[in-house]
């Protein structure tokens, strides 16, 4: 069992840096995160899709979920839980808008990389995915 040292309230950006309904990538202490802004507030997830490593910050946000831009694997914004697929969830991080500044809470210890900081997300272990993507990229590389 590893101890968790949470770094509380790392300021990542101003609220207006993220357009409503979209996400933006940010690296906090080398950890790639995706920060989302919706009408409900701010959310933070790991930026790396459990399916094929797609950048979740570029995903389409709707109905409190984000869909990976590569193959449409969906994750709950609040929990990181996988929605409708077997690739496993991603970590979700506490995030807060304090008078126009956005703060995220991230774990600090290296050993945590193996564990999942969110109990919710830990329900499903990431597994290597051999099944072809069910969704499709909206545009192939066809010029």
């Amino acid at each position: 069992m590893t101890e968790t040292l949470l770094i509380e309230g790392v300021r990542v950006c101003e609220a207006d840096d993220v357009p409503v309904g979209e996400g933006r990538a940010v690296t906090v202490a080398g950890r790639p995160l995706a920060i989302y802004r919706t009408d409900e507030g701010f959310f933070a997830l790991d930026n790396t899709c459990t399916h094929m490593g797609g950048p979740l910050a570029d995903g389409l946000v709707a109905d409190e979920t984000v869909a990976c831009p590569l193959h449409d694997r969906r994750f709950e914004l609040a929990t990181g839980r996988a929605v409708g697929h077997e690739c496993g969830g991603v970590a979700a991080y506490p995030v807060e808008d304090r008078d126009g500044d956005v703060f995220v809470t991230v774990p600090l210890l290296e050993s945590l990389a193996a564990d999942n900081p969110e109990p919710d997300a830990g329900a499903e272990e990431p597994e290597p995915e051999a099944v072809p993507a069910g969704g499709e990229s909206p545009a192939g590389n066809t010029g």
Binding site: I7, V12, R31, P32, I35, M52, L60, V95, P138
Partner: protein
């Protein structure tokens, strides 16, 4: 409900006596298909009105269409069992009173009464005469001899069959449709047969000379002789039995069985006796009313506009109109029927439709395979067809004749018909001619009424329960319609079709995705259909919608195609695939400057720069200085072209010019799915235009416009929409099609699915018709004007948000040593743009810790 009111049921058994109480009642005389059909149509319209069917024969209505099968012994069951149109229970269930073995002796129109052979009288308020016809027998000596049969009626059929088994040589008088069927039946009993025909070719009404000629060897092979231009003057007999024919030229033919099938004689005596106007048949108007206002006539006894129909298909059309008239309801008038027939002659399948001569057309004949396919056109429109030996495309051609489709290239149309599958049929295409069931009826039975088996669908729609020749087609359509048991919803999240949502957007004037999401379906937004709604809102508003970028996929937010590592590809517009050294130099320099990992010439005749960071997109666009190629969205991709007349020694049309013009005209438009086009300067088709969503091919003296082609995951040759003389016309038609597709296709539905679904004929009607075409092009212009307001790559100068292309600046902790994961989308901190956010910030520790994560 009937306007006549209805009669309380006295006798529910269906085997009523003739003494039902007087009141408002409909009486149908004749127990053939016509009488049966009118019963069905009446019940469909009015479940209550009193209906009585009077049949002269001792059995329930049966199907005469299958007689030749019965005759050739192909129906193993009893002589009538399989041919009975409806089981006995049906008449009970539908409360149709049936009087069997009862003839009507006299009609008294004044009293509204029938005198029956049973001695009873039967009162009627409305009367339908479905008296049928008798075989026409030539008034020649010997016609009454034993061994002479008319090819009509089940009793005759079994008699002929028995006789054919005994006979040594048979003759069939009459080389028309029924005569040949009779000959086939006789021959099937192993009896050699000669068909004697008055005209100079067989089936002169259904075949042209070429097709008739091709039949002869097939018939000879089966021991069926044909004698043309022979008039039978006398039947020779011996001991009261027929032994041969003598023709008007004195020649004789030995035969101990003679079947006569030279036409029909409408049964009109009953009507004539009652003073109802008759000519060849009982004269009816467009409502099928006779000269007596309360009496209608239909089927083979009726004469409409001088025509008596001796085939089954019109009966259903008659029955519908007759039922409306009997119930005093409004409905479509009857304006005559398209004559057509499908049969087997000497084991060769044959379909003949409409006017087979025409004033032009195209024929493809393969004498050695006994295949003859022809379409006849008159005044540029489809008039008729003959399909001999190879009947593929029957339904499609029937529909084309019915709708009077414009034919520009008959040969191409003929070839196309051979390819047409059931999915290509429009909903109005009649599938079952015996019961008048259209494809749409079958599809609805599956999609709306939830039937899944062919049997269920046949039971409910009655498709395939007549002659049965359409059963395979019915089964195909059921399978196709069953592909999805649900209607094609725009998205599973909202049980609404694209049309439903579009209607709401138009009615309420919604201009943004969020408005539509809130008002339609579940009221929630859904990631799966947001982009579909975004397209719909933009299309319906002619691109004057309120853009909500968050509803778009990342590709459409940053105008580049995301790659598997989170980088992007950049494809500048290169109209018609034509570039120059200046552009190439700039592209080369930009590739070096931004570390492009691969420069790839694409299949769309342009250049793809792969591996560009999102943050670099605005700068690389600026350096390249070319507009977006839209190689990332559901939009006009490119118009591929060959060098055409500029350089090619085979070029017939200036494909470069047209390609560049088309691409310039269309670029920037969003479409339901990507649209790839091509223009070829000659039929060698180097630009592969026939497998593009929209393709144009120069031919001698004109241009062919193809739609619905594909050569990707699906390979489909495009359909020729039309052939025109000038490039300007080709561009207009292609553009009208593009707009039609933009307006009617579902999101992500490529043209190769759209064209067969929407129907080539319907597309032609919309796109080739002058008014429709003008309206489509007008709407295209509106959309294009707004779309052309900006090349999306100009957002490099006017981003919709300061961080449209930028990630957030990395945050480093004061003490290093934490694991850094180089994931996709992880920007290089060194390259982060400095727009007021320090690239390196001190970790700010604050408290207390947040309670919730939002």
């Amino acid at each position: 409900m009937s306007e006549n009111g209805h009669l309380p049921r006295v006798n529910g058994s269906g085997r009523a006596t003739a003494s039902s109480p007087a009141g408002s009642r409909i009486v149908i005389v004749g127990g053939g298909i016509a009488g049966q059909s009118v019963c069905e149509q009446l019940r469909e319209r009015d479940p209550e009105v009193s209906v009585t069917l009077v049949c002269a024969e001792p059995h329930l209505p049966y199907d005469r269409v299958h007689l030749s099968d019965l005759l050739s012994g192909e129906e193993p069951s009893g002589p009538l069992g399989e041919l009975q149109l409806r089981p006995e229970e049906w008449y009970d269930d539908n409360r149709i009173e049936v009087l069997l073995d009862v003839r009507v002796e006299r009609i008294d129109p004044l009293a509204g009464e029938l005198a029956l052979s049973s001695g009873d009288t039967l009162a009627y308020d409305k009367l339908a005469l479905a008296l049928g016809s008798q075989p026409l027998m030539p008034p020649i000596p010997g016609i009454d001899l034993a061994g002479v049969y008319a090819y009509r009626g089940p009793n005759d059929t079994s008699a002929i069959r028995a006789a054919a088994a005994e006979a040594s040589y048979a003759a069939v008088i009459g080389g028309g449709l029924l005569g040949l069927e009779a000959a086939r039946g006789v021959q099937a009993q192993g009896c050699p047969v000669t068909v004697v025909h008055l005209m100079d070719r067989l089936m002169e009404r259904q075949l042209d000379a070429g097709a008739a000629q091709m039949l002869l060897p097939a018939m000879e092979e089966l021991d069926m002789e044909v004698m043309l231009e022979r008039q039978t003057a006398e039947l020779l007999g011996e001991d009261g039995c027929v032994r041969g024919l003598r023709f008007s030229d004195g020649e004789e033919l030995a035969a101990d069985l003679v079947a006569v099938s030279i036409g029909i004689r409408p049964e009109k005596e009953l009507a004539e006796l009652a003073g109802i106007d008759c000519n060849r048949g009982v004269i009816v108007d467009d409502r099928l009313r006779t000269s007596e206002p309360d009496v209608v006539a239909l089927g083979e006894c009726a004469e409409h506009r001088g025509v008596v129909y001796g085939i089954v298909a019109p009966i259903y059309e008659h029955a519908k109109v007759a039922a409306d008239t009997l119930l005093e309801r409004d409905g479509d008038d009857y304006r005559g029927s398209l004559p057509w027939a499908k049969l087997k002659v000497a084991e060769v399948d044959l379909v003949s439709i409409g006017d087979v001569e025409g004033d032009g057309g195209a024929t493809s004949a393969l004498a050695d395979r006994r295949e003859y396919r022809k379409i006849a056109i008159r005044d540029g429109r489809m008039a008729g067809a003959i399909l001999l030996g190879d009947t593929r495309g029957t339904e499609a051609l029937l529909e084309a004749v019915r709708s009077g489709e414009r034919i520009d290239d008959p040969l191409a149309r003929l070839a196309e018909a051979a390819e047409a599958g059931p999915e290509d049929l429009p909903d109005e295409a009649q599938v079952c001619d015996c019961n008048g069931v259209c494809k749409g009826d079958i599809v609805r039975a599956v999609t709306e009424d939830g039937m899944s088996s062919k049997q269920e669908v046949m039971r409910v729609t009655r498709a395939g329960t007549g002659c049965g020749s359409c059963k395979p087609l019915v089964s195909d359509i059921v399978a196709i319609a069953g592909g999805g048991n649900e209607p094609a919803y725009l998205c599973p999240c909202r049980k609404q079709t694209r049309e439903d949502v579009a209607e709401q957007i138009m009615a309420k004037g919604y201009e943004a995705v969020s408005e539509v999401s809130e008002a339609c379906g579940t009221g929630r937004e859904c990631g799966l259909c947001k982009p579909a709604l975004a397209y719909l809102v933009s299309q319906i508003n002619d691109n004057r919608h309120r853009e909500e970028r968050s509803a778009r996929h990342i590709n459409d937010r940053v105008h580049a195609n995301i790659q598997n590592d989170g980088t992007f590809s950049v494809v500048p517009r290169m109209r018609g695939g034509v570039t120059n050294s200046d552009q190439l130099r700039r592209i080369a320099d930009a590739a070096d400057k931004y570390g492009v990992r691969m420069i790839k010439v694409t299949g769309s005749q342009r250049i793809d720069l792969l591996g560009v960071q999102k943050e670099d997109l605005p700068a690389i666009w600026e350096d390249i200085g070319m507009p977006s190629g839209h190689a990332y969205g559901k939009a006009i991709r490119m118009v591929k072209s060959c060098v055409g007349t500029d350089f090619c020694r085979f070029g017939l049309g200036d494909s470069i010019k047209l390609g560049v013009e088309l691409e310039g005209a269309w670029e920037g438009l969003h479409t339901p799915a990507k649209v790839k086009s091509g223009v070829s300067g000659c039929p060698r088709n180097c630009a592969e235009a026939t497998v593009k969503d929209i393709g144009v091919v120069a031919i001698e003296g004109g241009w062919q416009v193809y739609v619905g082609g594909a050569a990707g995951g699906t390979v489909r040759k495009g359909d020729v929409l039309t052939t025109v003389e000038t490039a300007v016309e080709a561009q207009r038609i292609a553009t009208a099609f593009l707009q039609l597709y933009r307006e009617h296709a579902s999101f992500k539905e490529r043209t190769y699915d759209f064209v067969p679904r929407f129907g080539l004929e319907e597309i032609r009607e919309q796109v080739l018709d002058e008014d429709h075409q003008a309206a489509l092009i007008e709407r295209y212009r509106l959309a294009k004007t707004a779309a052309a307001a900006g090349d999306p790559w100009l957002e490099r100068r006017r981003p919709y948000h300061p961080r449209q292309f930028a990630s957030l600046d990395p945050v480093e902790l004061p003490q290093a040593g934490l694991p850094g994961a180089d994931g996709p989308g992880d920007p290089d901190p060194g390259d982060a743009p400095d727009d007021g956010h320090p690239a390196d910030r001190e970790l700010e520790l604050v408290g207390p810790p947040p309670e919730a994560d939002k």
